[in-house]
């Protein structure tokens, strides 16, 4: 009972500790063919393929190339052929697909496909891309279909999109500024690096149905896109998603599903499975965006922010996928959680010959937070002001407006001040202290804010049915990828129906045919959107239970209450009827019956959200914010330049902790990932654009023992009043300000501002050397 507010274990937890939890590649029906990709070994080149030999190798059923497929896909802008046609635009791009009876045969034939490359000039950095006379990654940019506006491509350039914020009068802002600071930043693309690689299987039945199973975070998007690309009825396409082994935004992009469909189509509809190798998962499937940014802030002598001018160049790699949406999300909150009257922000989505990018945990907010928070620290230095004090002075609050002119309330914003004050308390101590002859302890702190930047018409739904024993079944369209979304929904339903959590049965897997649509399991929105739908479904079921019970108990429905599996007279709980006796119709002693099966229905659609204006950026990008303050203590070795994060702190406004242990561990996991991004992670390309780190041994993520000695996670609870039980999104947020906080601490330790990621000892050595050389 009282499921909400308790640390309820994940429903599927027992299966996860016994090897019985099933993920996509664990469920392969007999007779499934295997597909293997042939990928490009050049970043930018004209290609010619020779596939005849591969086609005739033993076990091979078919070989597909870009010539066999005339299709351009893309979430926002349709710019990406599923298999390269004529030229390749990144190292790792799929150029052919081999379908064979087994993995060994498929891989052997894939190696036998000959690709002749005629190299083209490689656009290897954002600077290359925007330089005058740059080689074009896409010659026909002007002709691409805009699938999901707003998107503003600039033909005959490498600029796929330009998003803007124009707020107030920048000139006035600069006139009012006694102090100005500017910073230039370059942050690499990053890997999602979920331990489960992406996987998709497709089968086309003779009755026209298309069965797809994949690791997607967006099964309903897969369904819609396949229907659109291949001229099918949406109902013909059935997408199922078992448990997902980590996603972090990377599995919201639709890529392998399209290839699996094409593969099945090429072999008369037989089931075909395509599983990424680790190398393909890193180099062929999309990464998180890289960012080059110029940030300029102006403040009055008292330290009140007057103006912000920001230019972002997002390295989207070879294709746009969702980057124009990420760019707008960054624009929406471009100032960080501060009050700035005059804002000018330009965000360019830039094509390069890099692996293409998609959403990454935080949807642009970790690089955004990094550039803003680093510049705030520079401003504090210039004003000779305590960085915490500068932040406190400028914090945005209820009554203020965001850069998109969205008016804030305590409910929509939460309490950034409480987060900042508490985090500052937890990190009390000097910014830098000598703790030994060669050791320095340093501290750094940073703030984040984030709203969802989801489509204004995003929807969710929930269906509740009953079992004969009075327990309930809950169906929602959210994907379980580790965040515990299904369990949270079950908690909400249990709470509302007054049932034990064990009495709520969930469908762990999503099936688009029977589960109600949930937009996508992204943006940490499941608790809010699916939760609202579950609440409505619970109320709907309760109303039906009461109307049948009212007849049985000879009273008005309004006289009744629902709890503990019973519908009872509020005035006398001893007069009741059990769920199990009414949920499938009530049968009188004589055998006659009334009522019928009860099905609770709930749905939710976003309210009052709008697209951002193309010129000014004005609009309403999300239902609420999650704000937080994070900080670290590091130990720096002055001789070797090595450092270690010894303590990490997060104070986050959770609205309401629905599942305290779940919230804490989710945030801690995010913090660990954030420290990884700060200290070691970043996609690397060679001179010719070849990928240098497409394995875990070269793309280093955190490992045991590298985590801080202590994690401190505290929650502030400022309810979001239109959210289930007041709970705010939390899934992405643990990592958002960690890289900025680490950079702040390292800057204090070495006495020089750090504006890059990842902050490796080598990079610090370089930084010190260039600074000395310049002297």
């Amino acid at each position: 009972m009282n499921a909400v507010g308790h640390s309820v274990a994940r429903k599927e937890a027992p299966n996860k500790v016994t090897g019985r939890a099933r993920y996509c590649a664990d469920i392969t029906p007999a007779g499934t063919l295997t597909a293997a990709l042939v990928v490009s070994r050049h970043a930018h080149a004209r290609i010619r393929l020779e596939v005849d030999h591969a086609r005739h190798m033993p076990g091979v059923v078919a070989v597909l190339t870009g010539q066999d497929v005339s299709l351009l896909c893309g979430e926002v802008l349709e710019d990406r052929p599923p298999l390269a046609v004529g030229k390749v635009r990144y190292w790792g791009e799929p150029v052919a697909l081999v379908i064979a009876h087994g993995e060994a045969e498929a891989k052997r034939a894939a190696r036998a496909v000959r690709v002749d490359y005629q190299p083209l000039p490689v656009v290897n950095t954002v600077e290359d891309a925007i330089a005058a006379g740059a080689a074009l990654v896409h010659e026909r940019l002007g002709q691409y279909k805009r699938a999901q506006p707003p998107v503003v491509p600039q033909a005959q350039s490498n600029i796929a999109d330009h998003a803007k914020i124009r707020c107030g009068d920048a000139a006035e802002g600069w006139r009012n500024s006694a102090a100005t600071v500017s910073g230039h930043f370059a942050l690499p693309q990053v890997e999602h690096a979920a331990v489960e690689t992406r996987c998709a299987r497709a089968e086309i039945l003779h009755d026209g149905r298309v069965l797809v199973q994949s690791t997607t975070q967006a099964p309903f998007e897969v369904q819609k896109l396949l229907a659109r690309y291949f001229h099918l009825q949406q109902g013909q396409v059935i997408v199922t998603v078992p448990l997902v082994g980590g996603a972090f935004g990377g599995k919201a992009a639709v890529q392998l599903e399209i290839l699996a469909y094409l593969a099945s189509r090429a072999v008369n509809g037989r089931p075909v499975q395509l599983v990424n190798s680790r190398e393909e998962d890193m180099a062929t499937s999309p990464v998180g965006v890289g960012l080059v940014a110029d940030v300029k802030l102006g403040a009055s002598a008292e330290g009140l922010l007057q103006a912000a001018e920001l230019t972002f160049w997002l390295d989207t790699g070879a294709y746009t996928d969702s980057t124009p949406r990420v760019a707008r999300a960054m624009c929406s909150e471009c100032t960080g959680p501060y009050r700035v009257p005059h804002i000018r922000c330009d965000a360019y989505t830039v094509y390069t010959n890099h692996t293409y990018a998609t959403a990454f945990r935080g949807f642009g907010h970790f690089p955004l937070t990094f550039v803003i928070e680093r510049t705030m620290d520079r401003l504090a230095e210039q004003l000779d002001m305590d960085p915490v004090e500068l932040r406190r002075k400028n914090l945005i609050g209820p009554g203020d407006r965001t850069p998109t002119r969205m008016a804030l309330t305590r409910s929509t914003l939460g309490d950034p001040r409480a987060c900042l004050d508490r985090a500052a308390e937890l990190l009390a101590g000097p910014a830098r202290e000598q703790t030994g002859p060669h050791t320095v302890r340093a501290r750094g702190l940073a703030l984040f804010w984030k709203t969802s930047s989801s489509p204004p018409n995003a929807i969710s739904g929930a269906i509740v049915t009953f079992n004969q024993d009075g327990s309930v079944n809950l169906s929602t369209g959210t994907v379980e990828m580790g965040a515990g979304t299904k369990t949270t929904s079950a908690q909400i339903l249990a709470e509302r129906l007054g049932l034990d959590i064990g009495q709520v049965h969930i469908h762990t897997h999503v099936n688009t045919k029977v589960d109600p649509e949930h937009w996508k399991t992204v943006a940490s929105l499941s608790t809010f959107m699916a939760g609202r739908a579950v609440l409505e479904a619970a109320e709907d079921a309760k109303a039906q239970l009461k109307s049948v019970a009212a007849i049985v108990l000879k009273c008005a429905p309004g006289d009744l209450s629902v709890a503990r599996g019973r519908i009872f007279l509020t005035a006398d709980p001893n007069i009741y009827v059990a769920f199990r006796d009414v949920a499938h119709g009530y049968t009188y002693p004589g055998g006659d019956a009334i009522g019928g099966q009860i099905v609770g229905r709930g749905s939710y659609i976003m309210r009052h959200l709008t697209l951002l204006d193309e010129e000014t950026g004005e609009g309403h990008p999300g239902p609420s914010f999650t704000v937080g303050a994070q900080g670290v203590e590091i130990d720096w070795d002055t001789r070797s330049g090595r450092y270690r994060v010894v303590r990490a702190v997060s104070v986050v406004d959770a609205g309401r902790a629905m599942n305290p242990a779940g919230a804490r561990t989710m945030l801690q996991g995010g913090m660990c990932m954030g420290i990884g991004l700060a200290t070691r992670e970043g996609v690397l390309y060679g001179r010719g654009g070849q990928r240098l780190n497409d394995q875990f041994r070269t793309y280093r993520t955190m490992r045991a023992g590298e985590q801080p000695d202590e994690y401190v996670v505290e929650l502030v609870e400022t309810p979001q009043i239109d959210a289930p039980f007041g709970a705010r999104p939390l899934g992405e947020h643990g990592l958002l300000a960690m890289p900025a906080a680490v950079a702040a601490a390292v800057s204090h330790a070495i006495g020089r501002p750090v504006s890059h990621l990842p902050i490796t000892p080598e990079s610090l050595w370089r930084l010190t050397r260039t600074a000395e050389a310049a002297r």
Binding site: A9, E12, A13, P14, N15, K16, V17, T18, G19, R20, A21, R22, Y23, A25, D26, T28, E103, A104, A193, A194, V195, E196, T197, L243, V244, G245, G246, A247, F248, V275, S277, R278, M481, G482, A483, G484, A661, G662, T665, M666, Q668, G669, M671, C672, M673, Q695, F696, R697, T701, M702, R703, A704, G705, E706, Q707, Y711
Partner: protein, 173 residues
């Protein structure tokens, strides 16, 4: 022993205490045979080159990455030589209500659960091989595997908890 022209042949291997008959090629990894031939999908592929540990199983009680082992090494002849002991493979499916599983549950030592089988087998191997492992040694062992969801603190606590529990438990009678 029937050998086909592709090099596939039938062999016996011992997994989780059961003798199983499998058809394998000399190049098949143990991970592949466990998952695709024996239906034991608890061991997961995460990299197939030894970097991530999601495929960890116990070989004669020692944790090993099954993506780096060839299944054929574990094949026993139909009529083993006198005194020959078949090498015994244990997968996560063999764990049943063990302390290490309880500790992983209690400490929220997983989120998506994809790395969990590997970490559990690693921890179970540690428990058997080095029951007196120091905290530092625990971390050294755990470094061989990757988890992208948790903060590692939860996993380390679960493993230390397992060892502590074991040390404080009365010896079996």
């Amino acid at each position: 022993m029937a050998t086909s022209h592709t090099g596939r042949a039938e062999h016996l291997i011992t997994v989780n205490g059961e003798q199983r008959r499998v058809t394998l090629r000399p190049a098949d990894t143990l991970l592949y045979i466990l998952r695709d031939e024996l239906g034991l999908t608890g061991a997961k592929p995460g990299c197939e080159n030894g970097d991530c540990g999601a495929c960890t199983v116990l070989v004669d009680g020692v944790p090993m990455k099954s993506c780096l082992l060839l299944a054929i090494e574990f094949a026993t002849p139909e009529e083993p030589a006198a005194g020959a002991v078949p090498r015994h493979i244990e997968t996560v499916e063999s764990l049943d209500e063990t302390e290490v599983q309880r500790q992983f549950l209690d400490h929220w030592a997983f989120q998506c659960g994809y790395c969990t089988s590997g970490f559990l087998m690693l921890a179970e191997g540690l428990r058997r091989q080095r029951p007196g492992a120091s905290p530092g040694e625990v971390v050294d062992w755990l470094r061989s595997n990757i988890c992208r969801c948790t903060s590692y603190a939860e996993i380390i606590q679960a493993v230390r908890g397992t060892l502590e529990r074991e040390r404080s438990a009365p010896p079996p009678v």
